[in-house]
Amino acid sequence: MHDFDEKYPLVSDRHKPENTRADIARLLGGQRLGVLSTCHGQDPHASLIGFAATADLRRIVFVTPRATKKHRNLSHCSRAALLIDNRNNRLADFHEACAVTAEGQVEEPQGSEREEALRLFLERHPHLAEFAHSPSCALLVIAVASYRFVNRFQHVVEIRFD
């Protein structure tokens, strides 16, 4: 069921940027997984990842093994999109579900910034501690440039940070 909707009725119909922002924050806070889109030349790739977003929504953290296709694509083109939604594979999803696409530049943080990102990620995904600490994995951050929030089938609102 749409726990997220029941607990936090969407408010973005009021067309205020702060309400859209609140809806996005709730969606990001309510979901653990999203679909990351990367591309290298003519070779697009989509993959399911666990993520955690900062409170200001400007950064999204995820972890990937360095040997994966998504990491290879990102090393050639550092721009990526991440789709997060709350569908339940029911017919009602067409009118009930909402989705947000974050788009931005992917970076590998260092030092204290990395530590903070790792803390945020493990707070959300404590069961992925071994994975996140593995030397074979990269901890990456999407510096979000924009969000496109979709509900009511085709109602789309965009927030830009640049």
């Binding site: 093994p65 040997a67 994966t68 296709k69 404590p126 069961h127 071994e130 593995s134 074979s136 994995c137």
Partner: protein, 708 residues
């Protein structure tokens, strides 16, 4: 109780409705107390505490991820042990739910004072089993302080996911979503005599069987101590038979906690006739109370009979069930210490001597009839030694596991396999052979003419110095040729040995430095008491021998197998064999034809068996001759690392193996060479092809296959 708590409940307050929260064993004990029988005082840590322990530490999903790494049906028993070890280590490192420690401290103080305790599993699932599977879960005996109680509590919780429990997961209905564990915390009644009683003997239904030992019944229940055994007539109680064991031992609690086994041969039988009659009478009463024959654990302390457990008798049909063989591999430290000299001084030298005798015989000079006789004899000898390998050598490998559990219990490392670092760098036979191989390669590297000469037929062996070294190697280890290690037919040129030497010679000199081994002294210093330090030292010594011999036994068995295969090859050369002779263990079926729609693996999940990351082209080794093509930096992909294959390891960049396990031969070899290794990839040789660019992630147990 000091105040009501969802985590603790006195045993005597439990009822038949308490099973979901207190488990079957605790409810049965309460039933005994309500029936007027004496049980040791105590309380139960409820399943709610277990569930809150999981949820407060985010363990539910970690448990699920661990148990879903691969299908259970694809897991070998070694992999179940690995999973059990990882879960145990995970449990030992997590804090308890808030408030539990304080509540436990108060309850123990109020109810049990400073008496020694025993913590026993009480799983609600056990009752749903059609049969009783004693020993799947842990009990911790002689616990003497609150910190020890907290440790023991975690150990008993973790035993819900022990390898034995995972083996019998279907029978006991073990399901990660619903499984739970309550823990009984009782006064340890250190009786003078203890034992078990079957009110109806499983083999003679008209009799009651009573087994008894001096001291605690811990050694009897887990099979470590042979008991006195009485058979009584079920109707009259008349003693029909008394079997006296060859030696009598006793398990006693030690002042610092835990137990120790002592000699008790000087003592007479642990029970006298009046105690036997009392037990028989209690058995009859319990059978009447519960309506079915009972399996009862008991102890006498200062003449008073305490009941420790009672449950319906069930029988298990173990015929054709190799799980019992696996569980029998778990030997005690003293048993394994006794086994070591037998392996090291008797069995391995005998096997080696036989391998050398067999290798010295010139098969080409034998008449056909004698060759076939020799072939049959060698096959029989290989089967014999293979049996010894399973019955004796494999159980000895449990020494590493004993040490690993001890290490993790005391040090609680991040990496549950950190203990292996203390074992690497032993003088393994395969490494000694490979050092000589590298020395030969060094001779070629130093002299390009010599190297180029070896490319041709036998010209490389015209150099007398190199030829002498080459032949000395062949005399010691065989020429690594196609049929088998130990085969001496090839004369250089195109042999496997020559190919491997040429490939090694084209690489920079091998780095044969020993892998970093942490200081043993530092490890031993970590134990405060002399008794613990002495135990740690014994276990470490045993584990090092177990680690070393795990390689050596494989190498020597490989030479016996080689002798058999060499005879087979000679018989085949003379066309004396029928088609499809029995093949050696390296040989495998060829790959199936490509399907019309090709499904390609891109990322495969196995077990991280040796740390590190390596990328390179895959080299699938299905047959021994595939090794001849091995190039430096390739990732060796095989069904299982065979002793005949380890000479190619210095060329490999990493190892991928279908057979799973952290302590298997391939994983040990990988660690010795510092190579990343992933084991337990189902159908590795079918899903990966020679030349595929792959990446071995030995940290996470992932193999990535890049699209070309």
């Amino acid at each position: 109780m000091t105040k009501p708590s969802p985590y603790l409940s006195p045993l005597r307050e439990l009822s038949a409705q308490s099973q979901a929260m207190a488990g079957a064993k605790a409810v049965n004990l309460a039933g005994l107390a309500h029936g007027g029988f004496t049980i040791p005082d105590g309380f139960v840590v409820t399943t709610q505490a277990y569930r809150d322990f999981l949820s407060s530490n985010g363990l539910e999903e970690r448990l699920q991820m661990e148990l879903n790494r691969k299908a259970f049906s694809d897991m070998r028993w070694e992999e179940l042990w690995d999973a059990g070890l990882r879960i145990r280590n995970l449990f030992l490192r997590q804090p308890l739910p808030p408030g539990l420690e304080e509540q436990l401290g108060e309850e123990i103080k109020l109810r049990l004072g400073d008496r020694p305790l025993v913590l026993r599993s009480s799983s609600p699932q056990e009752d749903s089993a059609k049969a009783s599977f004693a020993g799947l879960h842990a009990s911790v005996v002689n616990v003497r302080s609150l910190p020890m109680v907290l440790e023991a509590l975690r150990q008993v919780w973790a035993s819900l996911w022990s390898d034995a429990a995972l083996l019998y997961r279907e029978e006991i209905g073990l399901n990660p979503q619903s499984a739970s564990m309550a823990v009984i915390c009782q006064e340890l009644v250190g009786g003078e005599a203890s034992g078990v009683m079957f009110t109806r003997s499983p083999t003679r239904p008209e009799q009651t069987a009573i087994e008894a030992v001096h001291g605690l019944n811990e050694g009897l229940v887990d099979g470590r101590i042979s008991p006195d055994r009485w058979l009584l007539d079920r109707t009259s109680g008349k003693i029909l038979d008394h079997h006296v064991p060859e030696t009598r031992s006793a398990m006693l609690s030690t002042p610092s906690g835990g137990t120790a086994c002592t000699e008790a041969s000087a003592s007479g039988p642990p029970l006298h006739d009046s105690q036997l009659r009392q037990l028989f009478s209690v058995g009859q009463q319990l059978e009447e109370k519960f309506g079915v024959a009972q399996d009862i654990e008991w102890t006498f302390q200062q003449g008073r009979l305490y009941l420790l457990q009672a449950r319906p008798i069930t029988t298990v049909d173990n015929q054709g069930d190799d799980r019992q063989w696996y569980l029998s591999l778990k030997r005690r430290l003293d048993e394994l210490e006794a086994l070591q000299p037998r392996i090291e001084h008797d069995l391995l030298p005998a096997m080696l001597a036989e391998a050398e005798t067999l290798a010295a015989l010139d098969l080409t000079s034998l008449p056909d009839k004698e060759l076939l006789r020799e072939l049959a004899s060698r096959q029989a000898r290989y089967d014999y030694w293979h049996g010894v390998y399973y019955q004796t050598f494999i159980p000895f490998a449990h020494g590493m596991r004993l040490f690993g559990e001890f290490y993790n219990d005391h040090l609680k490392p991040d990496d549950p396999y950190a203990f292996m670092d203390l074992l690497t760098g032993e003088q393994l036979q395969s490494k000694q052979r490979n050092r000589q191989l590298e020395a030969l390669a060094g001779m070629l590297r130093a002299n390009p003419e010599r190297r180029n000469g070896l490319v041709g037929e036998e010209s490389g062996l015209r150099d007398p110095e190199f030829a002498a070294a080459y032949q000395a190697f062949v005399a010691a280890y065989g020429d690594l040729s196609v049929a088998a290690t130990g085969y001496r037919g090839a004369k250089g040129g195109a042999s496997v040995l020559s190919n491997i030497l040429l490939e090694l010679a084209d690489q920079p000199a091998g780095d044969w430095a020993r892998p970093h081994r942490p200081s043993e002294e530092e490890f031993l210093k970590g134990f405060a008491s002399g008794q613990e330090r002495s135990q740690a030292k014994r276990l470490l010594t045993l584990a090092k021998a177990s680690y070393r011999l795990r390689d050596d036994d494989n190498i020597v068995l490989g030479r016996i197998e080689a002798a058999w295969l060499t005879a087979q090859a000679e018989a085949a050369r003379r066309a004396l064999l029928c088609p499809n002779p029995r093949q050696g263990s390296v040989l495998d079926s060829p790959p199936t034809a490509a399907e019309e729609v090709r499904v390609e693996a891109r990322q495969l999940l196995g077990q991280p068996a040796a740390k590190g990351v390596a990328s390179g082209p895959a080299r699938i080794v299905r047959q021994h001759r595939d090794l001849a093509e091995m190039k430096a930096g390739e990732i060796l992909v095989c069904d299982a690392i065979d002793p005949n294959m380890t000479f190619a390891i210095p060329l490999a960049g990493g190892i991928v193996e279908r057979r799973g396990g952290m302590l298997i031969h391939g994983a040990i070899i990988a660690r010795e060479y510092g190579l990343p290794c992933v084991t337990g990839i189902p159908e590795a040789c079918e899903r990966i092809r020679t030349g595929d660019p792959i990446c071995v992630d030995g940290f996470l147990g992932i193999v990535t296959i890049q699209s070309s």
